[in-house]
């Protein structure tokens, strides 16, 4: 106690209390727990950190640093952290922060693209991004090589790497109305879509990459033919006018159709670098591919008006070639002008495909000897009118055994195939000779003879009229009488039959009686049989009468 308290006695003394337990160690649990929590948060955050990659895009359109998400199969796997211009100013570099465990997504052929609302001819995609904002989608590749730098796609790929199916490359003269996503049809069923297209290096053709979805990809074989399915195919043939189109969609946005010719017994497997031809139409696609062409020259001694390069060369109705060129030639030595017509014949079209199996490798006219033999047997070329309306001509090959003999000069290149005048010319010649013959016919004498014959026929008819007619009339009257009598007899017979039928009807009295009688008869027969049986077993009954029943 300190002396000099102001009023110590008025201040109450505090109560004595037991010593409080030391709380010092306990309170240090608080920072320990805080440290543990903080450490755990730090560690878990650090562990959650995934890889950081850079993606190059052409523009940052629709991308927002720190906001734009990265999705794989619509699962959020990360976000775009920063966006900066590329060093060479050709595009932008988006730094993508991906979640934990996404390392295996980031391989050599992984593709990134921005999902934005897109409306193309046949497809509308990414509409949800109108509300949710654009996002970056990725498609995981198949490579195992890890990568940290990617080039983003400008267009979303038409199919993802893990989509089952098959990718094919087609070569086309032009792109037509195709676009990415245009449908691919097989038997008018959509089985795939156009994935990409690019001009070939030399600019002469377009390479179209299509994707056939499983399970339809097994209908594609090395023999499959592809054609543009856009537009309408109008054909006029023996069946009338036919309008063909794949579907209304393909009519509007274009498309590709394919089919596999049935004769291919064993479709060859498709190699990955196989290039298919994309034909302009189905007809063209199914034309046999003409890899070999033999040229011949035909010289006609008539007008070739109506014959055009590209006109068909036909062998008994089958197109086997076409007219390549029509020239005029002046031969100064003989002072003659001739019109050599150059034709191309595709010998493969002569190859038999009907027998099945692979077409025989035999080829018409490889050395020309075979054709020479055919010429010996009368093979000739002839100009024929394809259409009387338009006057179009075509070249026909056929056998004319009666034609004057000719030889195929194999030394000449191209060899000259002998020709024969066209049927129209033939007809003309025949008509002239016919007219000459007709002139020599004695027409007046023939007319006089004819008149005389007619007169004798007339007199004969008159005699028949006077002599034969009355007798025939009497005979006819008698016949009519006989016939009426026969009719009466028939009526009687019919009546008799009717009565018989009525009496035999199932509900007639006679029928019932007959049935009763038959039943009675059956009963009598039965008792007779019983009697006979009894007598057989007991012959003495005949003498003694029926004995009492004995067992």
């Amino acid at each position: 106690m300190v002396n000099g308290d102001p009023a110590p006695e008025r201040i109450p003394e505090a109560l004595a209390a037991p010593r409080a337990g030391r709380s010092l160690p306990l309170v240090w649990i608080v920072p320990a727990v805080a440290l543990a929590i903080g450490g755990w948060l730090a560690v878990s955050t650090w562990l959650e950190r995934g890889p950081v990659v850079e993606i190059h895009f052409r523009t940052a359109e629709g991308l927002q640093a720190g906001k734009t998400r990265i999705k794989y199969k619509d699962v959020d796997v990360g976000h775009i952290g920063e966006i900066s211009l590329a060093a060479d100013l050709t595009g932008i570099v988006a730094t993508a922060h991906l979640g934990k465990g996404t390392d295996k997504l980031l391989v050599e052929d992984t593709r990134f693209w921005v999902v934005r609302p897109r409306i193309s001819g046949s497809t509308v995609s990414g509409l949800q991004t109108l509300l949710s904002g654009n996002y970056v989608a990725l498609d995981v590749g198949k490579s195992t090589q890890r990568r940290r730098l990617f080039i983003g796609l400008e267009q979303p790929p038409a199919f993802t790497t893990d989509a089952p199916g098959r990718q094919l490359t087609l070569r086309s003269e032009d792109i037509g109305s195709l676009d990415i996503g245009s449908p691919v049809y097989y038997r008018r069923l959509q089985v795939g879509q156009v994935a990409a297209y690019a001009l070939e290096g030399d600019g002469k053709a377009v390479k179209v990459t299509i994707f056939i979805n499983a399970p339809y990809d097994r209908f594609v074989s090395a023999a499959s033919r592809f054609w543009h399915a856009s537009g309408i195919d109008v054909a006029l043939d023996a069946d009338g006018v036919r309008v063909k189109t794949e579907s209304l969609v393909s009519l509007a946005v274009g498309g590709i159709a394919f089919a596999t010719p049935f004769e291919e017994a064993e479709p060859a497997p498709i190699t990955s670098d196989m290039l298919f031809e994309l034909y302009r139409s189905q007809t063209l696609a199914f034309k046999s591919p003409d890899r070999i062409a033999d040229s011949y020259v035909l010289v006609f001694n008539q007008s070739v008006r109506g014959l055009q390069p590209g006109a068909p060369v036909d062998f008994r109705g089958i197109v086997v070639g076409e007219v390549a060129a029509i020239h005029t030639q002046y031969d100064p030595q003989n002072e003659r002008i001739s019109i050599p017509v150059e034709i191309r014949i595709y010998p493969e079209r002569f190859t038999s495909r009907l027998r099945g199996g692979a077409p025989k490798s035999g080829r018409l006219g490889k050395d020309g000897k075979f054709v020479a033999r055919l010429v010996d047997r009368g093979l000739r070329a002839q100009l024929r009118t394809a259409s009387l309306l338009t006057g179009q001509l075509y070249v026909a090959l056929d056998f004319f055994p009666d034609a004057p003999r000719a030889r195929l000069d194999l030394a000449q290149s191209p060899p000259e195939l002998p020709t024969t005048p066209s049927t129209l010319e033939d007809l003309h010649a025949t008509l002239v000779s016919l007219a000459n013959k007709l002139e020599r016919v004695p027409l007046e004498q023939m007319a006089a003879d004819f008149t005389r014959t007619l007169q004798s026929v007339d007199s004969l008819a008159r005699r028949l009229d006077t002599e034969l007619a009355p007798e025939a009339r009497a005979t006819l009257a008698e016949m009519r009488k006989t016939l009426s009598e026969a009719t009466k007899t028939m009526g009687d017979a019919s009546r008799t039959f009717g009565a018989a039928e009525k009496s035999l009807a199932p509900d007639s009295a006679l029928f019932a009686e007959l049935q009763d009688a038959a039943r009675e008869f059956a009963r009598t027969a039965q008792s007779l049989r019983t009697l006979a049986d009894y007598l057989e077993r007991n012959p003495q009954a005949l003498l003694r009468g029926k004995s009492a029943d004995t067992p």
């Binding site: 106690m1 300190v2 308290d5 110590p8 201040i11 109450p12 003394e13 505090a14 109560l15 004595a16 209390a17 037991p18 010593r19 409080a20 030391r22 709380s23 010092l24 309170v27 240090w28 608080v30 920072p31 727990v33 805080a34 440290l35 929590i37 903080g38 948060l41 730090a42 955050t45 720190g66 906001k67 998400r69 959020d76 509300l131 949710s132 904002g133 996002y135």
Partner: protein, 206 residues
């Protein structure tokens, strides 16, 4: 003339305010309300340090981790306190940004630093600027709860914005950490005995 109550052997009850003389026993209790009495809060500095260290530790995740996940039709985002401030600043609401920045970042930081400074000064027995230090302590005590603003906002949003498909707000890991920081700094401020500032004042001030 002034003398410390402890030097006079007097105890003040923190609950009912009664002043009493210290008994001979090692511990004392208020004769009126039975509150345990001591000259200084027992182990004040140790308690204060413990809470302060815990608050410092949790201050880091509270500011670096996202405090709120927002997902809506228009995409989802996660926000840290600082990104929220920046967003407000960039969108033109600089006054709101200032409020959030002060309440959520400056105040807790000031509290942590100030408390640490007070503790160090008391432990080293500094004698200068006692009045300023006392004022600092009063300031810390009074602004302690302001920082709960953020937590209230997050708690309200999480509870209210649950429109399943349209929008949803979830609290991030920083929210509990931040709440813990606020609570711990308040506890630290509570456990600090400001009388320690004045201890060691041998001579009455002029």
């Amino acid at each position: 003339m002034s003398a410390a109550a402890a030097e006079l052997g007097l105890l003040a009850c923190g609950t009912c305010g009664l002043v009493s003389r210290a008994p001979a026993a090692p511990a004392a209790a208020c004769p009126r309300c039975r509150t345990r009495l001591a000259f200084r809060k027992p182990a004040s500095i140790a308690h204060c340090w413990a809470y302060l260290v815990a608050a410092m530790v949790l201050y880091v995740p509270a500011n670096t981790l996202p405090i709120m996940y927002t997902s809506s039709l228009f995409g989802s985002s996660e926000d840290t306190i600082m990104s929220g401030v920046l967003f407000l600043w960039e969108s033109g609401s600089w006054y709101l940004a200032l409020i959030v920045f002060v309440a959520s970042i400056v105040v807790p930081l000031v509290k942590l630093i100030a408390l640490a400074a007070l503790l160090v000064s008391v432990q080293l027995g500094w004698r200068s600027r006692r009045a300023e230090r006392a004022r600092l302590y009063r300031l810390i005590e009074s602004i302690g709860r302001w920082s709960m603003l953020d937590i209230f906002v997050v708690a309200l949003l999480v509870a209210l914005v649950q429109l399943t498909a349209l929008a949803a707000v979830r609290a991030g890991p920083a929210a509990p950490a931040f709440g813990a920081v606020v609570v711990l700094t308040m506890a630290a401020a509570q456990s600090f005995d400001p009388r320690l500032i004045w201890d060691g004042e041998r001579r009455p001030r002029a």
